[in-house]
């Protein structure tokens, strides 16, 4: 291991430990956990990928949905310009599997929350409010900005937490293992100062 890697490793492991020692820090575990065991849910998603591969010839993925929506909106404003962009030449917006999949994901989330008595109907969540207060505008700006970064990153990396993080890694895809490690490094590096500085 090179010196740079050792230092990076030490910082990444020690930083949270020193931070967690501080009194009164926000702890995500003070808020309600999942309804079902993560192992049951994980196994369910694993089996679901067998089914999507077998019946739809598709890996589970979510991020391309947003690119498709962007393409449709772009075509409303300027069809010619949208169709001239290299990304949309290769991935023309269409009513396809990826599009209906994510729309159905919203509905699936609703069914699960409704039947489980977990339907929230809130603009802000308690952990955010505990740290940043009750401004919806602030949350809107940060969430939208995060969304921009995330979608740009997903397109560049070639997938998101589903496409790379689950579907790609399970196929032992090198790109996906690299991407998912970087997702977490980038996420931890921003989340820790966001909540503890």
């Amino acid at each position: 291991m090179s010196r740079a890697t050792s230092i990076a490793f030490a910082v990444l492991t020690l930083l949270p430990i020193t931070i967690f020692g501080s009194e009164g820090a926000i702890d995500a575990r003070d808020y309600p956990g999942p309804a079902w065991s993560p192992y049951l849910v994980g196994a369910g998603i694993g089996v679901l990928s067998w089914l999507t591969f077998y019946f739809s010839d598709k890996p589970i993925g979510a991020s391309s949905f947003y690119a498709q929506v962007a393409g449709f909106i772009g075509k409303l404003f300027s069809k010619r310009h949208t169709e001239s962009l290299p990304y949309f030449k290769e991935n023309p917006p269409r009513i396809g599997w990826e599009l209906v999949f994510v729309i159905a994901t919203i509905a699936g989330g609703f069914i699960a929350a409704w039947t489980g008595g977990e339907f929230e109907n809130v603009w802000l969540n308690p952990m955010w409010t505990a740290r940043f207060g009750g401004s919806i505008a602030l949350r809107a700006v940060v969430a939208a900005g995060g969304g921009v970064l995330m979608a740009f990153g997903a397109r560049l990396a070639g997938g998101c937490t589903s496409g790379h993080g689950i579907s790609g890694t399970m196929q032992l895809n090198v790109a996906s293992w690299i991407a998912v490690v970087c997702f977490f490094i980038g996420g931890i590096a921003v989340a820790l100062p966001l909540f503890f500085l």
């Binding site: 990304y87 990153g153 579907s167």
Partner: protein, 197 residues
């Protein structure tokens, strides 16, 4: 033995018609419903569960992902071995995988949901996911707008083509699947011991 590469009728090279076939769309709806349902039940539609993972407090996300990978990996390997499914390997490009991955992670920490879990969060009535989804569409557009120059620069950095861990490590795919399944399960057992949530 059947050649897994050729035996599946449903080729992934489908015609890019503006609307996919009804069968494909129905599959997308059913699997999307199941995906959203599982994500919400797994608690990963909740901001504090996702941020809790990035703050290294709540390990639900990693538990779900790793379990899905173990179950999915074994099943997909077997199905592919008997030529029932196609693999969907994305090309490894070190530059964009790493840079895109880090940007994605940073955006993930800010938005608090990823592209798939954001959809489940919206269904759950966590309306702040909407702001993030607007950002995701905008970010996808930004990428498409820059896709020309990006393809000529960043996306050429470290292009290794389609690559799996089995090829990198020179281990037969089946052996590696078995090793990874044992390894990831061991990590899960250790995780559960030190981080019950």
């Amino acid at each position: 033995m059947i050649d897994p590469g050729k035996a599946v009728k449903m080729s992934s090279a489908e015609q890019p018609s503006p609307v996919a076939s009804p069968g494909k769309l129905i599959g997308g709806v059913i699997f999307g419903l199941a995906f959203g349902f599982l994500l919400q039940k797994g608690g990963v539609g909740k901001y504090h569960v996702l941020l809790g993972q990035l703050l290294l407090q709540d390990w639900t996300v990693v538990k779900i992902m790793m379990t899905a990978v173990v179950v999915g990996m074994v099943g997909i390997f077997v199905l592919h071995h008997f030529a029932k499914v196609n693999l969907h390997i994305k090309p490894t490009k070190l530059g964009p995988n790493i840079i895109g991955g880090l940007l994605f992670g940073a955006g993930f920490a800010l938005m608090g949901y990823c592209p798939g879990t954001g959809a489940a969060a919206l269904g759950q009535g966590s309306w702040d996911a909407l702001f993030g989804m607007v950002g995701l569409v905008a970010g996808s557009w930004l990428y498409a707008e820059l896709s020309g120059p990006l393809k000529k620069t960043v996306e050429k950095w470290g292009d290794l083509g389609k690559l799996t861990l089995a090829e990198v490590l020179h281990v037969p795919r089946g052996v590696l699947v078995a090793i990874m399944a044992v390894l990831l399960t061991a990590v899960l057992v250790a995780l559960e011991r030190f981080f019950p949530r």
